[in-house]
């Protein structure tokens, strides 16, 4: 088994659709899912890298595990349910703190899932699954949260991808924006990982790589 080069973690409250998003992306389908216990992960080859995608459990009971899952993460995808305003509030109150253990330059994406329900609500024919709390979460709220996160992490907005690019509205049910979400994040993670690799002192000799080892000191003759 190959060791993953970077970690991408999905965080968010119970039932916002983290598992469904991952399954839609990796299996191209929308099966019935049960509430995740503990966590699960997928290995995803992406360009030259292997990324591990962690699906965490949103239930309060497993909240304590989040910090460990986030440790060293290259990207965190904060997920809320557009039909549940509370799920966006929770991102800030409960989940943001878990990302303290993530990589210093960790990327953030904020994802409002289940937009298919919102559209139904608009047309006024909410199905049996339509949320009773029909007030939608506005995209601006997500953008505001994104900016707040950058401040919390003490990152300069100029150095980070713009909020407009990192706030998504998706539907795991229809597949809307799901590929876009993951692929945008992955594509941003790749250069980060490559840069980290270049900066890291070579601790172990990787006999599988073709590259000659880098000289850390210059030799006597140049």
């Amino acid at each position: 088994m190959r060791r993953p080069d970077a970690k991408v973690v999905l965080l968010g409250g119970a039932s916002v659709g983290k598992t469904s998003l991952l399954r839609r992306y990796t299996e191209r389908r929308f099966p019935d899912s049960v509430s995740t216990v503990g966590g699960a992960f997928y290995l995803k080859p992406w360009r030259s890298l292997h990324l591990s995608l962690w699906d965490t459990a949103g239930r309060e009971q497993f909240h304590g595990l989040g910090s460990m899952y986030c440790r060293g993460a290259a990207a965190v995808i904060l997920t809320y349910d557009v039909t549940h305003p509370q799920s966006l509030v929770e991102l800030e109150d409960r989940f943001l703190g878990l990302t303290d253990s993530a990589s210093k330059d960790c990327l953030f994406a904020i994802v409002g899932n289940k937009v298919d329900l919102m559209e139904q609500g608009r047309e006024g024919n909410g199905g049996p699954h339509a949320c009773p709390r029909s007030r939608e979460v506005l995209r601006e709220d997500a953008v505001a949260l994104y900016k707040k996160i950058l401040r919390y992490r003490m990152l300069d907005e100029k150095d980070m991808p713009p909020a407009e690019q990192m706030c998504f509205e998706t539907s795991a049910k229809t597949g809307y924006n799901v590929d876009l979400l993951f692929e945008t994040v992955f594509d941003m993670v790749v250069p980060m990982v490559l840069q980290h690799k270049a900066e890291e002192p070579v601790e172990t000799v990787d006999i599988t790589s073709q590259k000659p080892p880098k000289h850390t000191r210059s030799g006597c003759c140049t």
């Binding site: 088994m1 060791r3 993953p4 970690k7 216990v37 503990g38 966590g39 699960a40 992960f41 591990s52 009971q61 497993f62 304590g64 595990l65 910090s67 460990m68 899952y69 440790r71 060293g72 253990s101």
Partner: protein
């Protein structure tokens, strides 16, 4: 949840063997090291057993334990932990907060009395950083609050190397390198005892449940997490595997690759680390110890010790395959890669892929099956052999043993369901056609192609023909029988042809056309046979079927002779043989002669005459049939005329005789013309046929390629004929005028003027006169130009001559004859065109003696 049998539970030490009838004594701890099994009891005893393992054919094993020494350690307290340090031949015994060292066999405390005091629990470092082989690193949780100590333990002494304090009271510990994995009272942490740095893992509640901290391999631990999770964490504080889901009240955990085992009050559960799924549940009551020792998993109640014997991985994989759990089997097999030598693994893994392929195949999951067969490098004959009768009888193939699947054949696999059977066959067809040209086919191309042929034939598939007309390795005898059985006679013919048995092939096809056998593959089979024979280089064969093809259709049949490939034509068939063969088939014969005369341009009188006669006969026949003279020329008649006009080879007299009185004036005129009897020819046309246009035409074509006088002669003859008739025949007069006006330049105008009656007006003849005039003027001018050019040419030559003669020649005493090298004594000399001067006699001599050197060469 689907289960798998990964472990069997067998008894190791019976209660009687341990403590007989001492009711209140319990097992507190166990240790196993190689064949040595130690048991610590609540009444302060350590028991030593030797384990004897007897493998059983079912893949499990039976154990018998023989009791060795047992010793009381002198405390009134229970023995709470035991650890063997085999390198030191010491057993570490924790009893009453004190770790004593005793001999592994003797169970005697070391004479030095070395011991570690004040330990509530301890762990051995199985991955120590220091390389000293004569000591082991022991980490203890001290009875002192929030203190951990690290000791080095030697054969008969102990040495403390580190003491660290923790933020909360530690409850359990495991060690790897410098890293301690600790369960504190509210959370798990990783602590580097060398640097003192710590890393939080995750919180839990020690009041609700007992923590579990278990090293499972290099730098990785297994911890009991919230909600009954078994969490994995590395020394870096991250999780590289998804958690396994246990019950809430797990007491102990162990690892035996690729499984994680957990014990609760009622069950032992087995989860796979590869896919996190629960794989097995064994009921086990009152268990309180579950531990693994170098791969051996031991579970104990307070009264007895049991061993969980893992089934060999291969057996587990086979069990999974047997219950069609392909995905899991493959995950397990892949996971075993590290634990099995490469060569052995590859053989095993390939076989598993193949087996998995057959399982998918049996479920009609063909895409998956194909991929598995491909990556498992399946011998395709395994697949072919599932289909009854597909492998050639001569094939040396036998199915691999043990078998890759349980099916005798497709009938059994599909349980006779025809639709499924057809799907399987379609898959096989596409699979074989894909692999037949790849290296997978090497070594058994015959088997593959023959099988493919059989499938195509059976399914009435178009590709059957494609297979047979391109390179293939179909075995003849097998294929013949199969094609006959399925009445694919046309294809059978192709097969014979491919095997150089053209005669058999053609006979078969002829039988189809004759209706002796039925095969509707080709509606145009007759034409196909003709084409085939036309290209067939076997003369014998063509002769053999010539009559047959001609009898069906003379026009088409003759193509076996006329449509032969160009390069071969000259040598293979003698035209005379063909002609004599075609005697019975006049239309075929005509077609063949046409082919010789027109297409191949053979210059032989016989063929030309013969063809002309045949045309003539046909024309006469047609006339007789249509009952009289049909004014419009039939196709044959046109052909006849063309032949008579174009060819100079046929026997004219012979034909004139045949044509006499047949009422074919045009043809007769042509024949007269061929004999040079133009007047007669024209008379026929003008007087008999009364067709002045034909007469005019005659003048044109029969003077084609001849000089002007000849043409003029013809036109004059015709004109004379028109004029002769005089005013009595006004049509001819008109014809005469038209002739003159249309062909002004083909007449000698002066001569014509003599002939014309004086009564004709100039107006009438103006086109002729203008034309003639223009012609004459043109001729004169052309002549003048030619004359001028000739004159100027003449002048040029004259000028050249003058130049050559122009300069004077000085003759003196100094000038020598170029031939004899003597001076000139007289004024007479000879000069060569290059300027050389010689004596006249020398020149004369030289002409007589050609060997003398030429003066020209001596300059």
């Amino acid at each position: 949840m689907m289960s798998i049998k990964a472990f069997t539970l067998v008894s190791a030490v019976e209660r009687e063997l341990l403590m007989g009838d001492k009711e209140r004594v319990n097992i507190e701890c166990v240790e196993c090291c190689g064949r040595n099994l130690y048991v610590g009891t609540s009444d302060g005893f350590v028991y030593h057993f030797l384990l004897e393992e007897k493998p059983l054919p079912t893949g499990t094993a039976a154990f018998t334990a023989t009791r060795q020494l047992h010793r009381h350690l002198g405390f009134r307290k229970p023995v709470s932990e035991l650890r063997a340090a085999s390198a030191l031949d010491r057993l570490l015994v924790l009893c009453d907060s004190c770790i004593s060292l005793v001999g592994m066999r003797s169970l005697e405390p070391v004479p030095s009395g070395a011991r570690i005091k004040g330990a509530s629990t301890f762990a051995l470092n199985e991955n120590p950083v220091g390389g000293d082989p004569f000591c082991v690193e022991v980490c203890i949780l001290s009875v002192k609050r929030r203190t951990i100590q690290v000791f080095l333990v030697y054969e008969d002494r102990v040495q403390i190397v580190k003491e660290v304090s923790t933020p909360e009271q530690p409850l359990a510990v495991a060690v790897d390198g410098h890293f301690l994995c600790l369960a504190l009272s509210t959370q798990y942490i990783i602590l580097n005892y060398s640097t003192g740095l710590s890393q939080d893992l995750f919180p839990y509640c020690s009041e609700e449940k007992r923590p579990i901290v278990k090293r499972i391999g290099r730098q990785e631990f297994l911890l009991a997490g919230p909600g009954g999770l078994g969490m994995f964490a590395t020394v870096a504080g991250i999780s590289q595997r998804a958690p396994v889901h246990w019950s809430e009240n797990v007491i102990g955990a162990a690892v035996c690759f690729p499984y994680v085992l957990a014990l609760d009050s009622e069950f032992i559960t087995v989860h796979s680390m590869l896919d996190q799924q629960q794989k097995q549940t064994l009921p086990f009551r009152e268990g309180h110890i579950l531990q693994d020792f170098e791969g051996r998993v031991i579970v104990a109640t307070s009264k007895g010790v049991y061993i969980l014997v893992p089934l060999p991985l291969e057996k587990q994989i086979q069990d999974l395959l047997a219950s069609r759990r392909v995905e899991e089997a493959l995950v397990l097999a892949k996971g075993a890669r590290r634990n099995i030598p490469k060569e052995k693994f590859q053989v095993m893994y390939r076989r598993i892929l193949q087996q998995a392929g057959f399982i998918q195949f049996a479920q009609l999951q063909f895409l998956e099956a194909k991929e598995l067969f491909r990556s498992g490098q399946l011998d395709v004959r395994e697949l072919i052999s599932l289909h009854p009768f597909l492998l050639p009888t001569s094939s040396s193939f036998t199915r691999s043993h043990p078998p890759l699947h349980e099916y005798a054949d497709l009938n059994q696999l599909t349980q006779g369901d025809q639709e499924k059977m057809a799907k399987c066959k379609r898959f096989l067809m596409s699979y074989l056609s894909e692999v037949r040209s790849t290296e997978v086919a090497n070594g058994y191309k015959e088997d593959i192609d023959t099988a493919l042929l059989k499938l195509y034939a059976e399914a009435d598939h178009d590709s059957l023909l494609d297979l047979l007309v391109t390179e293939n390795f179909c075995l003849l005898t097998d294929s013949v029988a199969w094609l006959e059985k399925h009445r694919k006679y046309f294809a059978l013919g192709l097969l014979y042809h491919y095997n150089n048995q053209d005669a058999t092939a053609v006979q078969l096809w002829v039988n189809i056309v004759n209706g002796d056998i039925q095969d509707s593959t080709r509606a145009d089979l007759y034409e196909y046979i003709v084409d085939f024979l036309a290209c067939c280089s076997d003369q014998q064969l063509v002769w053999a079927y010539a009559d047959w093809v001609l009898q069906r259709s003379e026009e088409v049949g003759v193509q076996v002779f006329t449509k032969r490939p160009l390069d071969e034509q000259q040598n293979i068939f003698n035209p005379d043989d063909v002609i004599s063969c075609l005697k019975k088939y006049p239309r075929a014969l005509a077609r063949y002669l046409e082919h010789l005369v027109v297409d191949r341009n053979v210059q032989k009188e016989e063929y030309h005459t013969h063809l002309a006669v045949l045309y003539l006969e046909e024309v006469l026949r047609q006339r007789a049939a249509s009952g009289g003279a049909d004014p419009t020329a039939t196709e044959t008649q046109t052909k006849l005329r063309r032949l008579l006009q174009k060819s100079d080879l046929y026997r004219v007299h012979f034909l004139i005789e045949r044509i006499q009185g047949a009422g074919l004036p045009v043809e007769r005129a042509i024949l007269h013309g061929k004999l040079g009897e133009h007047e007669q020819a024209l008379r026929v046309l003008v007087h008999e046929l009364g067709d002045t246009a034909a007469a005019e035409d005659y003048c044109l074509w029969s003077s084609e390629g001849q000089d002007t006088p000849c043409r003029q002669h013809l036109f004059h003859t015709l004109l004379a004929m028109y004029l002769q008739a005089g005013p009595a025949a006004p049509t001819l007069t008109v014809a005469a005028v038209d002739l003159l006006n249309r062909h002004a330049t083909d007449f000698d105008a002066a001569q014509v003027l003599q002939l014309l009656p004086g009564s004709w007006s100039v107006q009438l003849l103006s086109p002729f006169l203008t034309g003639a005039m223009r012609g004459t003027v043109h001729a004169r001018r052309t002549a003048q130009v030619a004359l001028g050019l000739a004159r100027s040419e003449n002048l040029l030559y004259a000028a050249d001559k003058m130049k050559l003669r122009g300069s004077a020649i000085w003759l003196s005493d100094q000038k020598l004859c170029q031939l004899c090298q003597h001076p000139f004594s007289e004024p007479a000399f000879v000069r060569y065109p290059n300027g050389g001067l010689v004596h006249p006699h020398c020149a004369a001599n030289r002409q007589k003696a050609p060997s003398s050197p030429s003066p020209g060469s001596r300059t």
